[in-house]
Amino acid sequence: MQKPHRILLDRVSAYADEAAAFMRRRRVARKPFARLYYAGGRSADHAQDSTAGAELFVAAGRLIEVAGNRKGGKG
């Protein structure tokens, strides 16, 4: 049986490593946000410490609670 092509394997591994590193950084760096979209494609972000943002986060928290932790709401 022919061996896998080492150069190709190394290259695929390098891409996978880079993607994994990107995802790790994204998980660490990403902050909570609330984004609203309006007619016409306009969007607006609301900080968690603003009045509107705080209300949105509280409402979102309640929905996350009612949905449960897992698919099917078993958690």
């Binding site: 946000f33 609330a34 984004r35 609203l36 007619a39 929905l63 996350i64 009612v66 949905a67 449960g68």
Partner: protein, 142 residues
């Protein structure tokens, strides 16, 4: 012309375009069976989904994947109310990312859909799926 003015002009034109499209509210609410089928399809398509609900024209829960239907309706109403008061303008879509999960809400065709997903779900895909099921439900209700 300053950039802000261009953006405002574009928004006005776009709103005008959308108002011409056939996006009328559903004349009657879709049946609970069709809403449940739509949610079953959504659950099948979205591995990140934790739970979802479809709300009728009066804000009543037509179908939910888990939990109490009344609670979904109440919490969704609170969410949309918070969105509407943020800028005193009716909001179309809401995306809130928290450390516990992500919430997506959309109003279209006189109906509304809410989805709660794991963190880092692809927002464009989730919103597209929610809009699609609302469009299908509204089409079936006419």
């Amino acid at each position: 012309m300053p950039t802000v003015m261009i953006q405002e002009a574009r928004a006005r034109v776009t709103v005008g375009s959308f108002s011409q499209m056939a996006d009328a509210p559903a004349a009657t609410a879709p049946s609970s069976e069709s809403a449940e089928a739509a949610l079953a399809f959504l659950t099948e398509m979205s591995p990140d989904l934790r739970g979802a609900a479809v709300l009728g024209p009066e804000g009543e829960a037509l179908a939910v994947t888990s939990g109490e239907a009344a609670r979904w309706a109440e919490d969704a109403e609170t969410l949309f109310a918070a969105g509407d008061t943020a800028e005193e303008t009716p909001v179309e879509q809401i995306h809130i990312a928290t450390e516990q999960g992500e919430v997506f809400a959309i109003r279209s065709e006189g109906l509304a859909a809410i989805a709660v997903t794991e963190r880092f779900a692809l927002a464009s895909l989730v919103l597209f799926d929610l809009r699609s099921i609302l469009r299908e439900l509204a089409r079936g209700a006419h």
